[in-house]
């Protein structure tokens, strides 16, 4: 006779989300485990965040020392945007007491994938106290009528 315990729908959902968490963690590690600067291109990758609301996607990026007029946000394709910004000063490793690396940086650069379809043509950008805010209206707003 089988002694196998019957799993409830909640157990199955929990297991599914645990698996998803593990996958997300592996993905995050693969993406995060690299330097936040690129010596060859002399660029620094900014910290960024994405918030998805029912109407829009808001991408923010922390851009200390960013020169407002130099901030550029460019759609690369339907789901990826590229952020570039010049800094008002050059930053050298030596400024932070680091002598084992040589190099100086004066540009922020990163690419960010947008998780849902958006209309990049209607994108709006603002720079508030060094934080870049990109508003991207969502493309498809599905409505399922209640029967």
């Amino acid at each position: 006779m089988s002694t196998r315990k019957k799993r409830s729908i909640f157990d199955i959902i929990d297991e599914y989300f645990e698996g998803l968490d593990e996958w997300a963690e592996r993905f995050r590690e693969a993406m995060i485990e690299r330097p936040s600067w690129n010596q060859r291109a002399s660029t620094i990758e900014p910290l960024r965040d994405i918030l998805v609301t029912p109407d829009e996607v808001i991408v923010t990026a922390d851009l200390p020392y960013a020169e407002e007029s130099s901030v550029q946000v460019k759609p690369l394709n339907e789901d990826t945007i590229e952020i570039n910004a010049k800094m008002t000063r050059k930053v050298r490793f030596a400024d932070f007491g680091i002598t084992q690396h040589a190099g100086e940086f004066q540009t922020f650069h990163c690419q960010t994938r947008i998780p849902v379809p958006v209309d990049t043509k209607k994108m709006e950008i603002h720079l508030k106290r060094g934080i870049l805010e990109i508003h991207l209206p969502r493309k498809h707003r599905y409505r399922i009528p209640i029967e």
Partner: protein
């Protein structure tokens, strides 16, 4: 040099000099906005605090911090005759944090600290629109709560607290050590020197430890740039601790 207390096999605190009794013990650990770490770093420099002890643990990742070519533990305690300040220069792994914080609290209790104060942040979504940042407080017992309330601190009445300060608060309440948590409105994912300055200013009101924050505010952009990597690693540990639960509305069970 003094060999410190061996409070547990996995976490040890090694004392480098005689530790004063009856000090105020502060904590600056990586959390949202790195508020505590930035505040702690500024206080160490402004109050000329020196390293009095450090933490050694197999639970930490295999890393040391080099300053002027010499190795240091990433978790150290700085101090003078009246202040002890525990600070971490690295994101503390979520699965080690319970053990590490409890050992630090046990150590502080053994040194008869009069109060333990965690400096941290509470994230707000419209942070860039807020100029006057509020600092909320919570306390380990009703008498300390009344004291901070009388000194003008706004109380965090309902909600969840996640992270190092939650462990300190809970453990202090259990073992009868007065404890306060200070939570400044801050960014979730970005280093926030302004929130750290608000915390340091509020700390002066409740402890009398006065520290000028003008240099901290002037160097704001430099700190934000410098703290990016620690912030990034802290984000990962916060996710493991389910930090976003702080946004949840608790079920009211009185």
């Amino acid at each position: 040099m003094f060999e410190g207390l061996k409070l547990s096999e996995e976490v040890k605190i090694i004392e480098k000099q005689k530790i004063p009794s009856g000090a105020t013990m502060l904590f600056g650990f990586p959390d949202v906005g790195l508020v505590g770490v930035i505040a702690a770093s500024h206080m160490i420099s402004e109050l000329n605090l020196t390293e009095v002890a450090y933490l050694d643990s197999e639970l930490l990742p295999p890393l040391i911090v080099l300053h002027e070519g010499l190795p240091h533990s990433p978790i150290r305690i700085f101090g003078n005759h009246s202040v002890l300040l525990a600070v971490s220069e690295t994101a503390v792994p979520a699965d080690a944090i319970q053990h590490i914080m409890r050992t630090l609290v046990d150590w502080g209790k053994n040194k008869n600290v009069k109060v333990m104060i965690s400096m941290s942040g509470i994230p707000v979504q419209n942070r860039q629109d807020i100029h006057e940042l509020k600092v909320f407080g919570a306390a380990s017992n009703s008498s300390v709560l009344k004291t901070i309330q009388d000194k003008g601190m706004e109380i965090l009445k309902e909600g969840y607290m996640v992270g190092p300060q939650a462990i300190i608060m809970h453990y202090c309440a259990r073992i009868g050590v007065p404890a306060i948590t200070m939570l400044a409105q801050c960014f979730y994912n970005y280093p926030d020197p302004e929130a750290a300055a608000a915390t340091v200013k509020e700390l002066a009101k409740i402890t009398g430890i006065k520290v000028d924050v003008s240099a901290l505010l002037e160097k704001g952009e430099e700190i934000r740039l410098r703290a990016r990597d620690v912030m990034k690693r802290t984000q990962r540990e916060l996710a493991k601790m389910k930090k976003t639960q702080e946004y949840d509305i608790p079920v009211y069970i009185s």
